[in-house]
């Protein structure tokens, strides 16, 4: 039998249009549907503030103790030699505490993205399989990357709305002073971090589907340790001061885009904090590394998805609930 010619959607512009439509289609449930549950304001915007508040109170208490010592005449490890030195120490302490609190609010905000990547990207294809959507997706003519791209874009938008709510509330409630130096660089770092993060999520989505239910345990495992290693509640550069093990943790954590992204954003928003001793690299270098991570993760996501689809068609175990 000879194959017919003149296939529908065979031309490039038609394929591009199809895939753009597919991206919009798949992003839609996340953008519109998810915001139909008003409970998100409490669970995903207000509740994260409690975690942030715990760290903020600790930092404030430490800052108050340091300030009390300075007021008592101690400038670091020596007695203040002048009122000017005392005032400078006090101002620096307040600025550092502000930077710590601000870093915590920013980190707590970025946690929303990491959780979204873990639970709504990485675990998503497995969940889609369970409810019977995956085989309908695999049967459709759209590119599989368009499917993941739609999920990622929808997730980014939805989480950005929630994260912005948390960020604004956190900045107001904890009276954080921002010293934004380069808005353009901040935006670039933020968006490249998101692309790299969601690229990682897209890659994990295929792998999680292969691993099945164990994937959920892996997601749980990747929560607290990553919060710690990526420095969501403190500057991750501090690990470098902790010797060999600290450096090893920091090196491993740089594979998670949130680590360098957070570090770069903190540097841009709180320049000169802690005398610049707790940063990992400069924001420009971190942006370059994030760009590389984004490209690598997207490439690997594409490869993993192609492998997954081939496996699904060969073994017939991945697209149906009961197989």
């Amino acid at each position: 039998m000879s194959a017919p010619t003149g296939t529908v959607l065979s031309r490039l512009p038609q394929r591009i249009r199809l895939n753009l439509q597919a991206i919009v289609g798949r992003a839609y449930p996340r953008v519109v549907g998810a915001n139909r549950e008003p409970s998100w304001i409490f669970f995903e915007a207000i509740l994260p503030l409690l975690g942030i508040a715990a760290y903020v109170f600790i930092y404030q208490a430490l800052g108050d103790r340091a300030a009390a010592a300075i007021v008592g005449g101690m400038c670091g490890d020596h007695v203040c030699v002048s009122a000017t030195e005392q005032a400078a120490y006090l101002a620096a302490t307040k600025a550092n505490v502000n930077a710590l609190i601000g870093s915590t609010v920013l980190g707590g905000t970025m946690i929303a993205f990491w959780l979204n990547v873990l639970w709504s990207m990485a675990s998503q294809l497995y969940w889609e399989k369970e409810i019977g959507n995956l085989q309908l997706y695999m049967m459709a003519p759209m590119s599989r990357m368009a499917l993941l791209g739609g999920m990622a874009l929808g997730g980014m938008f939805m989480t950005s709305v929630r994260a912005t709510t948390t960020l604004v509330t956190g900045v107001l409630v904890f009276s954080v002073t921002l010293q934004l130096t380069s808005p353009a660089l901040l935006l670039a770092v933020f968006f490249v971090t998101l692309i790299a993060l969601y690229g990682l999520g897209m890659m994990l989505a295929s792998l999680y589907l292969l691993w099945g239910r164990e994937a959920f345990n892996l997601s749980a495992l990747l929560e607290e340790p990553i919060f710690f290693a990526s420095g969501f509640y403190f500057p991750a550069g501090g690990f470098a001061r902790a010797g060999g093990l600290g450096r090893a943790v920091l090196t491993a954590a740089t594979a998670i885009p949130a680590t360098l992204g957070l570090d770069a954003m903190r540097q841009i928003i709180f320049p000169g904090a802690w005398g610049g001793t707790l940063w990992i690299f400069s924001p420009e270098v971190e942006l370059a590394v994030l760009l590389v991570l984004a490209v690598v993760f997207l490439f690997l996501a594409r490869r993993a998805l192609a492998y997954l689809e081939n496996l699904a068609r060969r073994e017939g175990r991945l697209t149906s609930r009961h197989q």
Binding site: A3, P4, L9, S10, L18, G25, M139, A140
Partner: protein
């Protein structure tokens, strides 16, 4: 001749994963590969409403998955709209759609209209066109008043109608319907059946491959029917021609007190095949006998009595599709 669907010696073997292979079954033997499709040859013509009848595990869904490019054959070939499912899945995907019975696809937070629209976007249907089509189809399926209702609040019948609309909204050339009326009430089933028949008959070049458990549905709807069991196509013809095949045989239906063991009937000379179904509510067993002639009837009745059972009802009938099925497969569908 160009077929909408053609399979040549199509075979699919499922090999258990290593972990599962290590497990032993109750009798101690290791679970081996399962042949879901066994050298299946099938030709479905353009514009045909084609039925696939078979018991659970016969290979119907496996066949549909291969044709929908979701599964690769182990051996043999399958062509859909002239394209090889193994080598050329993309053009096939632009021309097909599939709806299964009891589907729970979509997102409960979206409305009926939004869910269908989302799936239409994966096929490149222009958004405006999709919305117009969706409204028309919602009217046709009697679901228009549920258009802005969240899907999670729909009943199973309404949800299946929504699934059907999802299948039709992309205007496929070939539609695969895998037990689309499974578990639906009479009205919902009728609406779906009527629309499918209209869709094929009033449009040119539309083909439907339907699998169903309901013999009446297959008889009423399908131009041709293939009977499949253990992965093999046992017969393929029009419902009338299939029935003609056993017209020479005699069909008897008996309703007797519940009988657990019906195997003695198969030892009676002249009994070609038998199907037995227990009716728990009435505490009876319904037996369908395919006989070479009427001579074994007295021995059948004696056997019933000798097993302490009682005959409630005896009827000689014209062969139905179910009789054809029993004659070929050796058991009923349920």
């Amino acid at each position: 001749m160009e077929y909408a669907v053609e399979t040549k010696a199509l075979t699919r073997v499922f090999t258990p994963r290593r972990k599962i292979l290590r497990k032993k079954t109750a009798n101690g033997s290791a679970e081996g590969p399962v042949t879901a499709l066994d050298r299946a040859d099938l030709q479905i013509r353009d514009g045909e409403l084609f039925g696939l009848l078979g018991p659970n595990g016969a290979g119907k869904t496996t066949l549909i998955k291969i044709l929908c490019t979701l599964l690769l054959p182990t051996e043999g070939q399958a062509f859909v709209a002239g394209f090889d499912v193994t080598k050329d899945p993309f053009p096939i995907r632009t021309r097909i759609n599939m709806v299964s019975g009891g589907e729970t696809s979509g997102y409960g937070l979206l409305t009926t209209r939004e869910n269908i629209w989302m799936f239409s976007q994966f096929y490149g249907v222009p958004s405006k066109v999709a919305k117009e089509k969706i409204d028309t189809l919602l009217h046709t399926f009697g679901l228009y008043d549920k258009r802005d209702v969240k899907v999670r609040t729909l009943s199973s019948g309404q949800r299946q109608k929504m699934n059907m609309i999802r299948g039709f909204v992309t205007d496929p050339s070939i539609l695969f319907l895998d037990e689309p009326t499974l578990g639906l009430d009479v009205n919902a089933s009728r609406v779906i059946r009527d629309y499918v028949m209209d869709w094929v008959r009033k449009r040119t070049g539309k083909t439907v491959l339907l699998t169903t458990h309901y013999m009446m549905e297959a008889d009423q709807m399908c131009d041709r029917i293939a009977i499949i069991d253990h992965g093999r196509i046992l017969a393929c013809d029009t419902p009338e021609a299939l029935k003609r095949r056993i017209r020479k045989a005699t069909t008897f239906r008996l309703e007797v007190d519940t009988m657990e063991n019906t195997s003695p009937f198969l030892n009676i000379k002249g009994v070609k095949n038998l199907s037995a179904k227990n009716d728990i509510a009435k505490n009876t067993t319904n037996l369908i006998f395919i006989l070479e002639d009427e001579s074994p009837v007295s021995e059948i009745l004696s056997t019933v009595v000798s097993h302490g059972s009682k005959v409630h009802h005896l009827q000689k009938s014209e062969p139905t599709l179910e009789d054809v099925f029993v004659s070929m497969v050796g058991r009923g569908l349920e």
